[in-house]
Symmetry: C2
Subunit: 124 residues, 2 copies
């Protein structure tokens, strides 16, 4: 289980990388509220570039977490939504977010202590 080359660990690692990237969680959490069109997502996540949103959605679609429905009208319309698999991911993500929120203060405090100690070391 600790061998990083084992298939299980590689899969977990891949998943964590996907979770860890800047946009996946934002997209999943936004889509968690309901299906969205491409530019709706852009509006709700103003800091994401078009390129990164496209790539993020492609990856999520490839992993089977997000569905992509094209309506070939004019103008074209593309709806994204969470699949059941995507929805099921929201719980563990929520657990992680809850942990983060509960421990923001402790982490920031630790960081300040660490940085202060580092400065002190420089001064000495």
């Amino acid at each position: 289980m600790k061998d990083p080359t084992s298939p299980v660990c590689r899969t977990i690692s891949t998943l964590l990388s996907r979770i860890g990237d800047k946009w996946t969680v934002l997209v999943v959490s936004t889509l968690g509220e309901g299906p969205r069109r491409f530019n709706e997502l852009r509006r709700e996540i103003p800091s994401v570039s078009q390129r990164m949103l496209t790539l993020t959605l492609r990856n999520l679609e490839r992993d089977g977490l997000v569905s992509r429905a094209v309506t070939p009208s004019i103008p074209p319309r593309v709806d994204y939504a969470l699949t059941p698999l995507g929805h099921s991911l929201r719980e563990p993500i929520q657990a992680l977010s809850d942990w983060a929120i509960a421990n923001i203060a402790a982490i920031h405090e630790a960081q300040h202590r660490f940085d202060a100690a580092a400065d002190e070391a420089v001064a000495a």
Copy 2:
């Protein structure tokens, strides 16, 4: 809560980036079994470079998740261990790992479907 510039979201995002990097989870999960010295960690995580292990441990220490105890003997000895905060992170991480393990098959299947569909599109 969806504003990526809000302090809460930035903290979560930072945490997720830390979790998402290749080494943090491996280190935390290894240290979860008990304190380890620097080279013990290297041996248990063979794929990590010395540099990356150092950087990962520094970040974890700065965040207050890992403690670093130096024994200035000859040869020098440095012990790393999870702090209580670090231990508390193991639960949400475990939840995520459990999810990943439970859904490895579904994800791989989705990926193969996606790639097959992409190949088909190229062939057409």
